[in-house]
Every structure is written in C-alpha cells, then in structure tokens.
C-alpha cells in the first residue's frame, strides 16, 4: 500500500493556488487523484514539483469514448521526502487533443509524451520532437484509441449474451 496525501488536504492546497481550475480531488484506493483543467495542468505540475513532488513516475493517455471529454492524460508524481504518491488527470474534448508539454520540467517526459502521441494522437504543444516512437512512422491511426478494436479472432464462443453481460 502506498502513502498518499489525503484528498481534502490536497484539494485545499491546490485550490488555494489555482482556485476553480481544480475540478475535483478524490481518493482512489491508495492514491489521491486530482482532476485539473488542462489550461493550468502545467502550472500545477511545476508548482507541485517545487513543493516536493519532484519525481515523475510515469504519464500516459487514456481514451474514454462517448464521454463529454474523451481524451485523458494521467500524470503519476511521487514525493520521496515524505513518500507520498499522487495522480493528476486532465481531460480534453477537441480532436486532435492538445496538452502542454512537460518536457522542460522533466526531460523524462519526452518519450512518455511521444508514446501518448504515438498511441492516442495527443499533441503536446512545445514538445521538441513529437513523432511516433514505438510504431512505424508511416502508420495511420492511433492504435490505443477505442475505435480501433482488437478482435479475438479465434474465439466465436465468447458471445457476451451467453454470460449475461
């Protein structure tokens, strides 16, 4: 189990500086998760970095189709001094989605953002070299988006209605 900063404490701390741009803070399992408006996400990350959360564990994209804001970017931060982990989320609805880059905050974010671009088509404004990283450059489409289904070709017996779903 991880230690985390309590949700209401994090909410108070962030709201003091960023006001209404902090949409919600909740605790999911053992980590506090803050949802933040995309226009301040970079400022929040820089502020958090200055206030202890100096290690970028990882960041990745998620696609939630059929929701008002389907494109989500998740940042996992870790404060080693107090051993606290938090997670930040930011949602966008325009396609192609644009996020600010955090490559200048942590150079480690470079490839993580390229990965999110490669798989989800997220654009990171200000990224030094935004191109595909794991897939072929000539590839068309964004493979991890839900509109590209991966079919289980060998199995025809796995019909959802058989199992009451």
């Amino acid at each position: 189990m991880f230690q985390t900063i309590e949700a209401d404490e994090l909410e108070k701390m962030l709201k003091e500086h960023f006001g209404e741009k902090i949409i919600s803070v909740e605790k999911l399992y053992d980590v506090s998760v803050a949802e933040i408006s995309v226009d301040v996400i970079k400022n929040v990350i820089i502020w958090l970095k200055e206030n202890g959360f100096a290690y970028l564990t990882t960041c990745n994209g998620i696609h939630y189709p059929d929701t008002p804001k389907p494109f989500c970017m998740v940042y996992h931060l870790h404060d080693w001094k107090r051993n606290l982990r938090i997670r930040l989320k930011t949602y966008v609805h325009h396609d192609p989605p644009h996020f600010p880059t955090i490559t200048d905050v942590w150079p480690a974010a470079n490839w993580m953002e390229r990965e999110a671009y490669d798989f989800f088509g997220f654009h990171f404004d200000g990224h030094p070299k935004l191109k595909r990283i794991l897939n072929e450059d000539s590839m068309v489409g964004w493979p991890l988006r839900k509109e590209y289904p991966l079919e289980d070709q060998a199995r025809f017996d796995k019909d959802d209605k058989m199992f009451g779903r």
């Binding site: 189990m1 399992y29 998740v74 493979p143 079919e151």
Partner: protein, 407 residues
C-alpha cells in the same frame, strides 16, 4: 596566451566535419535490437539519435482484449531476464484492485522467487559487462548459475525463461521437494562462485581502468530522467521500492540498499554485485521465516474462489468448485471497477502497472511503467564526449532489455 591564439587560428583553418555512424539495429555488440545513429568526432561521440520500437508487440493494446489471468504471459516478455518479477508485479496489481489478502507463507514463497529472479537478472548484466570490457572468463564462470536458477523455476512452474509463474491470488502449486533441494544447493554454491567472479573483476586493474568514469551520470540528471533501480542507486540515490513502499512483506526483511557515488559503469556493476549478496541474504531469511511459520501448506489465498483455480479433486466432486473452475477457465472472473497503480522493484527499477478496470472481464486500460523505456532516454547524455567503445559498455551496464524497452 599563446595557446589561445593558436586555437583561434586552428578553428578558422580547419572546418569540422562529423562522421555519422549507424550503430545497429542489429549489431553484435549491442545485445538486442537498438539503433543509435551516432555523430562522431573521430572516436568521440558527439551526439546520438536513438530509434526504438523494433520489437514492439503492442502489449498495452493486447491487454485490453485479454482476461486478467491471460495477461501474465504478456508480462513475461517485458524484461525476459527476470520474468517472475514482472509476473508478480502484475498479480499484485490485480490483487490490490480486488482487495485480496495473501497468507504470509505465499508472500515469503513469492519473495524467494522474486529474489532468485533478481539474481539471475543481475548475473546476466554483470557477466555481460565483463564480456564487453574484454573479460570472457567471468561470464563462463557465473553464467551456469543462471541455468541453476532456471532449473528452480522449472521445478516451481514448469517453464524456464517465460515463466508465467504464480497466479492471481497465490501460486499455481507449492514448491516441491526438488525445488527446495535445488534452492539449498544454489545458496551453498552461488556465494562461492560469486566470490570467484568478484575476485576476477572487482579489484582488477584493467577492469577498473576500463569501467571507472565510463558513462557517468549525476544524481540530478538521473532524477530528471526518472531513473530507477540499480542505475539510479549507482548515482548515489537510495531509492528502492522494496523499502519505500514495501510489498509482499518486504518490511520484515533485513537487507541494505547498496549505493554508488559516480553513477559510472563500475558503480553500476558494483551495485548489482552487492544486490546479489543482499538477495541471497533475503532468500535465506525467507526460508528461516517459512520454517518458523505454523502454516506449512497454503500456497494461495483460500478466500478468493473467483480468482483461484480450485483443487482438481474438488472439481470432480463438488459443484461449487466445478463452477469456479469453469468460470476461471472461461475467463469469466471480473474484477471490481476502479483504477490502481502498483509497482515492484524489478531487475531494472520501478516496474509499475497502472490498471484501469471498468468491471469487465478485461482491463479497460493497462499502462506499464517500464523502467528501461524511461531511463534509456538518458543514454545520449551519458555517452556524450566519451569513446565509442565506452558507449557500448555503458549500454550493457545500463541493462537495457529490448523487450522491456519496446513492450
């Protein structure tokens, strides 16, 4: 003053031209498929352009169509030098999501497996550092112990390399007598061989000259590049997930985290070397703890029938067991809705799984935090200004595993 003038005139007269050198994708010196386009000034590396993704297998996408139990074999193929560590990390992630509490015995057994995997991972890396710096002998001595460790895996799970070891909610079977004997034999023989290996390299003048100050990285830079594991500890930061966020009862064990100072190849070698000794210590402690436990039989969490295959005998005689058997085999176990991040100390650092579940039979999204993928970004910084041969040695000492890099 005179020198300055000379240099100025030199720069005017000689126009510098750099050589471009294509190192890889397949090159015998870069154990794995990596391409580095090096910009060279004579024999000095000026800049590097990395291309990765040659063995990309879309694990994150595959996981979205696979039931939870069937994702374990995918995780094998991340860092294939220490598959059990990846497997355990995955099981623990699902267990955290489903709130499964394991008996102490299972946690100790898992620790034995994980530490064996760490030893085999470090054996490969360290012996290959020897080979790349021109010392084949050490490799020949110690590499057989990786075989012995694979023999132990074989007794535990039936496989050697891509182990698929353990299940969500425990292990698939208990250790048999042969496995215990082999572990005992390994603990007896490995320290002796490890000492011989260290005698060959650690204070060897040639090896030291070759590796000290080869591919160094400062702690600040390593942190900016989100390094973790032995590479970060070699730079002097004592971050270890086993201590920071103990899982599987690591908090009960007594071991130290070795750290280096310069973050160069020698430090990375020494950190891994020392970690092997610590792993041996941990395995011995785990065996002691197992002996003290009253519980001598359990190897899975008995209160989670939805996740754990019932005994075969029960399947034939009990309705309940038959239903669970069918459900599990047909991958009809659904885990609760939620999202969770869990990480273990893999062979190369913090190996994390970020799992988003919508309550269905497969994950909604699975993101793997592969330490290699993240720290390989720092490679150009580490080899800048060094020799080409140092670049090769630096890469093997970083233990960049193509499977983990490309996922």
């Amino acid at each position: 003053m005179k020198e300055d003038v000379n240099q100025d005139t030199k720069q005017e007269v000689i126009s510098k031209e750099y050589t471009t050198l294509n190192l890889g994708p397949t090159h015998p010196a870069t154990h794995g498929i990596f391409q580095n386009v090096l910009k060279m000034d004579g024999e000095i590396v000026v800049d590097t352009e990395q291309t990765i993704g040659y063995i990309h297998r879309a694990f994150e996408k595959l996981s979205e169509r696979r039931p939870y139990g069937q994702i374990t074999p995918i995780t094998d193929r991340l860092n294939y030098c220490s598959s059990p560590l990846n497997n355990m990390g995955w099981h623990m992630t699902v267990e955290k999501l489903a709130g499964i509490k394991l008996p102490k015995r299972v946690e100790y057994l898992r620790i034995i497996i994980m530490e064996l995997a760490r030893i085999s991972d470090h054996i490969i890396c360290n012996s290959v550092i020897g080979v790349d710096s021109g010392a084949m002998t050490g490799f020949l001595y110690i590499f057989q112990f990786r075989e012995h460790i694979y023999d132990i895996y074989e007794e535990i799970c039936g496989a050697r390399m891509n182990t698929n070891i353990g299940r969500i909610g425990g292990l698939e079977r208990d250790f048999n007598q042969a496995a215990w004997l082999k572990i005992e034999k390994l603990l007896e023989e490995l320290p002796r061989c490890l000492k011989e290996f260290e005698a060959l390299l650690v204070r060897n003048r040639i090896f030291m000259d070759r590796t000290i100050n080869c591919g160094p990285i400062s702690a600040e830079l390593a942190l900016a590049y989100s390094f973790s594991g032995p590479n970060l500890r070699a730079a002097g930061v004592d971050y270890d997930v086993r201590v920071m966020n103990p899982y599987s009862s690591y908090e009960e064990f007594d071991f130290i985290i070795p750290v280096g100072t310069n973050g160069d190849t020698y430090d990375r070698f020494m950190v891994r070397e020392q970690e092997m000794w610590e792993s041996i210590k941990i395995i011995k402690q785990a065996i002691e703890k197992l002996d003290k436990l009253e519980d001598k039989t359990s190897y899975y969490a008995p209160d989670v029938p939805d996740y754990y295959l019932p005994q075969k005998l029960d399947v034939y005689t009990k309705m309940e067991a038959l239903i669970y058997h069918f459900k599990i085999i047909m991958s009809e176990t659904s885990v609760p809705k939620g999202e969770v991040y869990h990480c273990v100390e893999g062979g190369n650092g913090e190996l994390g799984y970020y799992l988003v579940s919508d309550g269905g039979r497969t994950p909604y999204r699975l993101h793997m935090r592969r330490p290699c993928f993240i720290y390989y970004q720092g490679y150009p910084e580490m080899i800048k200004g060094g020799y080409l041969s140092d670049a090769i040695l630096t890469m093997s000492s970083m233990n960049v595993i193509a499977g983990e890099l490309d996922a």
